[in-house]
């Protein structure tokens, strides 16, 4: 079973947590990324996630392998949604179990930070005002979808 997986249906966090149970683990840390109703001052209506699945699975798996090498932990797992998501939906789940809590916190943070920076997944925000845009366009020259001629006054930093 791979440690980085995509899901087109809601992530089952109870089943995910169960995969990390270990009688030698004293601490478990999980992170959940939820679809937030706003970003950089704009009201968000829904999100679309798209991935270059073939490479994303490899890169995700590399991140989890690195994490297990770098931190003295027991298990680590990351599940990521793709497709259309509504406000409040769970977009990504990371779980880490370890003997000690310090390492569980650090490893969990490491996984989500690396996933956000390295794994080829993209997020398109659909705003209440009818606009939409691919997150991280502030680092691109990309104009918003509906009005290609003007630049957005705000920076898209991602929902964090």
């Amino acid at each position: 079973m791979t440690r980085f997986r995509f899901s087109q249906t809601p992530i089952d966090t109870v089943a995910a947590r169960r995969e990390l149970l270990d009688p030698s683990a004293g601490g478990f840390v999980s992170f959940e990324g939820w679809v937030r109703d706003h970003n950089e001052g704009l009201a968000v209506r829904r999100l679309e996630y798209e991935a270059f699945v073939e490479l994303a699975l490899k890169e995700g798996e590399r991140i989890l392998a690195e994490t297990l090498k770098r931190f003295p932990i027991r298990h680590a797992l990351c599940l990521h949604r793709i497709g259309d998501l509504a406000i409040g939906d769970l977009a990504v789940w990371v779980g880490v179990s370890a003997s000690h809590r310090g390492e569980a916190f650090e490893a969990c943070r490491y996984v989500i930070d690396e996933v956000k920076h390295r794994v080829p997944i993209w997020k398109k925000e659909h705003y209440l005002n009818g606009d939409s845009g691919w997150v991280n366009c502030e680092r691109c020259a990309a104009a918003p979808h509906h009005h290609e001629e003007h630049a957005h006054p705000h920076a898209h930093r991602g929902h964090d």
């Binding site: 990324g33 996630y49 798209e50 991935a51 270059f52 073939e54 490479l55 490899k58 890169e59 990521h80 977009a91 990504v92 989500i112 996933v115 956000k116 920076h117 390295r118 794994v119 080829p120 997944i121 993209w122 997020k123 398109k124 691919w134 997150v135 991280n136 366009c137 680092r139 691109c140 020259a141 990309a142 104009a143 979808h145 991602g158 929902h159």
Partner: protein, 79 residues
Amino acid sequence: MQIKIQYYALMREQAGRSAETLETTAATPAQVYVELARRHPFTLPAEQLKVAVNGEFCDWTRPLSPGDAIVFIPPVAGG
């Protein structure tokens, strides 16, 4: 030679397609990008992209072979 291009996210929208086959004399992904940017209204400069060939990240100067599959990767935003 013929190479394949797959598009994702903003690049897919700007190319107006998910994939295409290109007959080209370009020797590297960097040259392919220049060529494609003449046909499609790409707004992302190559410096802001990464590139993958045959499902693995690689250099922009990697020599291409016939049948290679290229993906230009815009800034990611998982999570």
